[in-house]
């Protein structure tokens, strides 16, 4: 929906609303829990929410079980995510004339899903916040800072850039793993064991170990791992801490290294609270933020590395007489609150999660865990880091010459991709075609899920595009492989042969057919 009032404004709107609220006339604004950009006139905000709600109601006439997911217009895409039973997130993205704005709706919805799961990890569910404080101010103020901080990663220059067709060889909400030799794997395992037991008494801590921006080991469930991994790569790893360094990780959203640098500078200036609160939905938001403790785990530069190797968070403030020791996260799988404690040694980042319930005295407990870690594990940590560094192939470690690929294990939420720098060498048309193909495959997958939910989807599509590149998608046994082969031979047999070879070599033959 092109909103007349915003022609020159940001090309994106993001809205969170509660469909149970604001039913009385004059109270409609109460529906809105979050709106970006916040300086949009209320009338425009209301019309966005009004259309969204209207379409949700309308589609339910025919499709009572699955309400609206996408509205596609000539100049805008709207994607919907029903984050919680009555809570909707809607993102509206404007299509540019420059032909750069072709995206996959599922990739946009993944942005909403990621924002919501990260939010929930730090704040619990929105429903719980609304129950705690029915006026909604708590939920609003949390959302306000959190989503704005989250969106700050999407800035390229002065504009927010959502994932486009150029990102079609990436998969959000998945984990990238470091492949290690058997010998190293055993050592990592033993380190994880030490961390797990180095805690207090009988209560075990959980942990994630990252090397650079890649996961090495986790004791969390796949879903929680993906959330925590995402957060780590956004804010905790050495790359994330030194945001001036250009990063090769796809989770840094910029198109290229240089633009990241540019945007990072901008982000830092943007993250000043005054600016966030400017034109806020609720004019008392400033005061609100003082009344309610507002941790901002996604605020840039929130974390810094202390002398002891542990990361220090600005959240660890004394607010209203309460000492907040460390950020607390909520694990969906085990339904537990955990303190977050991060230790970093060179490229190795160790995230320790300490159950909150175990701590009668949080500060002491965490200090104890830290002490134990340094005492019991520091040698191992140094050792493992050295080994990993030695075996580390660098940014292009997972480049396979001649291939540009994305490999997703949907069951485990793991993906591996060609290095972004290599993907950038692909022709625009190739990426464009792959993006379309992925959109098609997304639909095929959901259709297959509906029709035969208990049957594994098997699908293979090879397209010889107009520019002579091969665009390939293959789904089998819960794994997905997407591939672009440029400068390849024109025969289909050559292309499928290339896929076979890749599959045999890198995917344990999962995609080999014969």
């Amino acid at each position: 929906m092109g909103l007349p009032a915003m022609a020159a404004n940001e090309g994106i709107q993001l809205c969170v609303f509660d469909s149970r609220r604001g039913h009385q006339e004059g109270q409609e604004l109460d529906k809105i829990l979050f709106f970006f950009p916040s300086d949009f006139p209320y009338s425009v905000q209301l019309s966005v929410v009004g259309l969204s709600e209207g379409i949700i109601t309308f589609t339910r006439i025919f499709s009572p079980d699955a309400a609206c997911e996408v509205i596609e217009e000539e100049r805008h895409s709207h994607v919907f995510y029903q984050a919680e039973p009555d809570i909707w997130m809607v993102m509206i993205v404007e299509k540019n004339k420059d032909n750069e704005s072709d995206w996959r709706c599922d990739a946009l919805i993944d942005v909403l899903k990621e924002a919501h799961s990260l939010f929930t990890m730090f704040n619990g569910s929105l429903q719980a916040l609304l129950d705690k404080q029915p006026s909604g101010e708590l939920a609003r103020s949390r959302l306000y800072t959190f989503i704005n901080d989250y969106l700050s990663d999407f800035y390229v220059g002065k504009k927010i850039q959502v994932p486009s067709f150029r990102d079609c060889l990436k998969e959000r909400r998945t984990v990238q793993m470091l492949t290690v030799s058997r010998e190293v794997a055993i050592e990592v395992q033993s380190l994880a064991t030490v961390i797990g037991t180095s805690s207090l008494g009988s209560i075990a801590c959980k942990s994630l170990i990252l090397f650079q921006d890649l996961l090495v080991a986790t004791t969390l469930s796949p879903g929680d791992t993906a959330n925590m991994f995402t957060y780590a790569v956004l804010r905790l790893t050495p790359h994330a801490l030194s945001s001036n360094t250009s990063s090769w990780s796809y989770l840094r959203r910029g198109v290229s290294g240089s633009s990241i640098t540019a945007s990072s500078g901008l982000l830092n200036s943007r993250s000043s609270p005054e600016e966030y609160h400017h034109g806020s939905h609720d004019s008392s938001m400033g005061e609100q933020s003082n009344r309610y403790h507002m941790p901002r785990p996604l605020q840039r530069d929130n974390w810094s590395k202390g002398k002891d190797g542990f990361l220090v968070c600005d959240i660890q403030l004394n607010v209203g007489g309460l000492v907040y020791l460390a950020p607390v996260v909520w694990l969906q799988q085990s339904e537990e609150h955990m303190y977050l404690c991060i230790y970093q040694h060179r490229s190795l980042t160790i995230i320790i999660l300490i159950p909150v319930c175990s701590q009668t005295d949080g500060e002491q407990g965490i200090a104890l865990v830290k002490k134990q870690l340094l005492e019991n594990a520091s040698e191992k940590i140094v050792h493992v880091e050295e080994k990993l560094s030695r075996g580390w192939g660098g940014e292009n470690a997972y480049h396979v010459s001649g291939y540009r690929y994305l490999l997703v294990d949907t069951d485990k939420s793991i993906s591996r991709t060609s290095p972004p720098g290599k993907v950038m060498t692909l022709a625009k048309d190739s990426l464009f075609t792959l993006n379309k193909l992925r959109e098609e495959v997304d639909l095929e997958k959901t259709r297959a899920n509906r029709e035969k939910p208990d049957q594994e989807k098997n699908l293979e599509i090879c397209i010889r595009a107009k520019n002579n590149s091969w665009i390939i998608a293959k789904i089998t046994q819960g794994r997905e492989l997407y591939m672009v082969l440029e400068k390849a031979n024109e025969t289909l047999l050559y292309a499928s042969d290339a896929v076979e070879k890749f599959s045999d070599r890198y995917c344990d033959g999962a995609f080999s057919l014969d």
Partner: protein, 590 residues
């Protein structure tokens, strides 16, 4: 909302008679006459008959109104009678066989015969009644009915002020509220300077087509690609134009609240048969034998020919050419939806969509079968603003001759032409060849020659290899469609035994639709080749400058063999092109 009653009101919408006094712009339309009810012999311009507004006349020249409820008996013996050639007969619908072959306007009782004449898409349920074409489907339903909400595919036409014009299911007037909702959604977006394309919710898709002042909407859970559904809406719009021309827009310019439903009265059968052609669809004819409507023309942008020996088709073309030289714009001989021959006057060519819509219009209207007819029709791709005149005559139960002209008074000339043509066709055995070809069917994958030495096989000699039925063609080939880009024609093989079940055929139709949409992507397409394997099929598509080939194989087929087989299919089609394609018809080129 106007009730049906208002239709018979002589002047419900145009209280100002001066509107009707506007001079007709004859130059655009030639003359189109509307025979007034009960006044078949009245030659005066219809004044305030309420059937079409004044502007419509202005655009259309003279229109002879045929009103509901009174079969107009302008018979051929009296050509001056305005009920004669030139009436908008199909506008008032289906109906009883008329006593006189010339009677041109007649009444159809709207919906009243619907009860016994519904058919479900095979998706819906298994009920298949003998003739869907006679009435409104489920006229008793509206948006409050559970059954209505559960229909797999709805189509709506409405005006931009929210007036319902057509709904596939349910009574338009009962759906006024729903129609207003659709209008509100579309207009909200239009007012913001944008345009709705589609909404997706689970397996449902709502697809919009805005042709101000007309809105078209499809609500479907058939999971066809957006492009396919949008094209279906385009065709429905085209079908509407074929009946009314684009000058109907002027009615809305004058009166945004204009109620257009009376104009389409009686055309339910035309739309429902078109809609059936969009989907894979089975119905049982009076005979118990199940027939499959499989019309890839709805997405291939091409027409198909009835296979005939070159000389037979030449004979047909020669006589058509003869009449074309005598002031006929297009002469078209078709058997069901397959073209026997087509001839156009110099430079004029017929768009495949126009052929699809025209043949659908003719075949779905029972009255064409029972009498020779002269009916105003518009070919939306040829010129959406004007009416042409179609002389239609069924030569046998499936074969019909259509002569299109710009002149409204050439009925007798065209009748003479038809008599000449029919005589020649009978004498040269063309008609019997046509009937034989219908019985023989088209290409069979089992007959695909194994060696290039067998190339010269003629369609009319049965092949030995056809005995190996049961497994489809060589290398697991089950089916193919070949579209000649230059000729705007396609040829589609018969279903081989592995896809003899209706559910398999439906899956194949859908798979082809998706393959077509995937290959013809707007941004980067068309692609060159595509290989696709899933649980149901191996599909191969190959697009060059000259042709497009779509082939379906056994899902376990070997890739290399499938490719080889595709090459052989192309060779085979080229070898047979004189028999399966029509040459000489100028390709569509404006």
């Amino acid at each position: 909302m106007d009730s049906d009653d208002s239709v018979t009101d002589p002047n419900p919408h145009h209280p100002d008679p001066s509107l009707d006094a506007e001079p007709a712009t004859v130059e655009q339309m030639g003359s189109l006459t509307l025979g007034e009810a009960g006044d078949a012999a009245g030659a005066e311009r219809p004044v305030g008959n309420g059937f079409l507004p004044a502007d419509f006349y202005a655009a259309a020249g003279e229109i002879e109104v045929v009103e509901e409820g009174s079969p107009v008996s302008g018979d051929l013996a009296g050509p001056s009678s305005l009920g004669g050639p030139g009436a908008c007969r199909e506008r008032s619908g289906r109906g009883d066989a008329l006593p006189s072959p010339s009677s041109s306007g007649y009444a159809g009782e709207r919906g009243s015969s619907g009860g016994s004449s519904e058919i479900e898409e095979a998706d819906d349920r298994e009920t298949m009644l003998d003739d869907w074409s006679r009435g409104k489907r489920h006229p008793d339903e509206d948006d409050g009915s559970v059954s209505w909400r559960k229909r797999k595919k709805h189509f709506f036409i409405l005006s931009n002020s929210g007036k319902p014009i057509y709904s596939r299911y349910g009574d338009e007037h009962k759906l006024a509220g729903f129609s207003a909702t659709l209008q509100a959604i579309i207009s909200f977006v239009e007012n913001s300077g944008d345009r709705l394309k589609f909404i997706r919710a689970g397996k449902h898709q709502v697809v919009f087509l805005v042709k101000v002042p007309i809105y078209l909407v499809c609500i479907s859970c058939t999971e066809e690609p957006y492009e396919a559904l949008k094209r279906q809406l385009e065709l429905i719009y085209g079908q509407m134009l074929l009946i009314l021309t684009k000058s109907v827009n002027r009615c809305f310019e004058k009166n945004p609240k204009y109620d257009m439903t009376p104009l389409l009265r009686g055309t339910d059968a035309v739309f429902s048969s078109l809609i059936h052609a969009f989907s894979w669809f089975v119905f049982s004819n009076p005979k118990p034998k199940a027939l499959v409507i499989w019309n890839p023309a709805t997405f291939l942008n091409a027409y198909t020919c009835l296979p005939l020996s070159y000389s037979t088709r030449q004979a047909a073309s020669a006589i058509l050419q003869d009449v074309a030289d005598s002031g006929v714009l297009f002469a078209l001989l078709m058997c069901k939806n397959k073209v026997v021959s087509l001839v156009g006057t110099q430079k004029a060519s017929l768009h495949p969509d126009d052929m699809l819509l025209l043949s659908n219009f003719i075949m779905s209207s029972e009255s064409f079968r029972t009498s020779e007819s002269f009916s105003p029709i518009c070919l939306p791709r040829y010129n959406p603003m004007v009416f042409l005149y179609a002389y239609v005559h069924f030569l046998d139960v499936d074969t019909y001759l259509t002569l299109l002209t710009t002149s409204s008074d050439s009925f007798y000339h065209l009748k003479d032409c038809r008599i000449r043509i029919e005589t020649v066709l009978v004498k040269s055995n063309v008609l019997s060849e046509v009937q034989r070809s219908m019985l023989d069917g088209g290409l069979r994958v089992e007959d695909l020659p194994l060696e290039s030495s067998l190339r010269s096989r003629s369609l009319t000699t049965p092949e030995l290899s056809s005995s190996q039925s049961g497994i489809g063609g060589p290398s697991g080939l089950w089916h193919f469609m070949y579209r000649s880009i230059y000729l705007d024609q396609y040829v589609s093989s018969e279903f081989s035994s592995p896809i003899s079940s209706s559910s398999q055929q439906k899956r194949l139709f859908r798979a082809y639709q998706r393959l077509y949409a995937s290959m013809h992507d707007n941004g980067t397409g068309p692609h060159k080749t595509q290989f696709r394997r899933d649980e149901d099929f191996v599909l191969l598509c190959w697009i060059t400058q000259d042709f497009e080939l779509y082939a379906a194989f056994d899902p376990l087929s070997d890739k290399a063999l499938a490719i080889k087989t595709c090459n052989r299919v192309c060779q085979w089609v080229r070898d047979l092109e004189n028999e399966i394609f029509l040459f000489g018809a100028s390709p569509f080129s404006w």
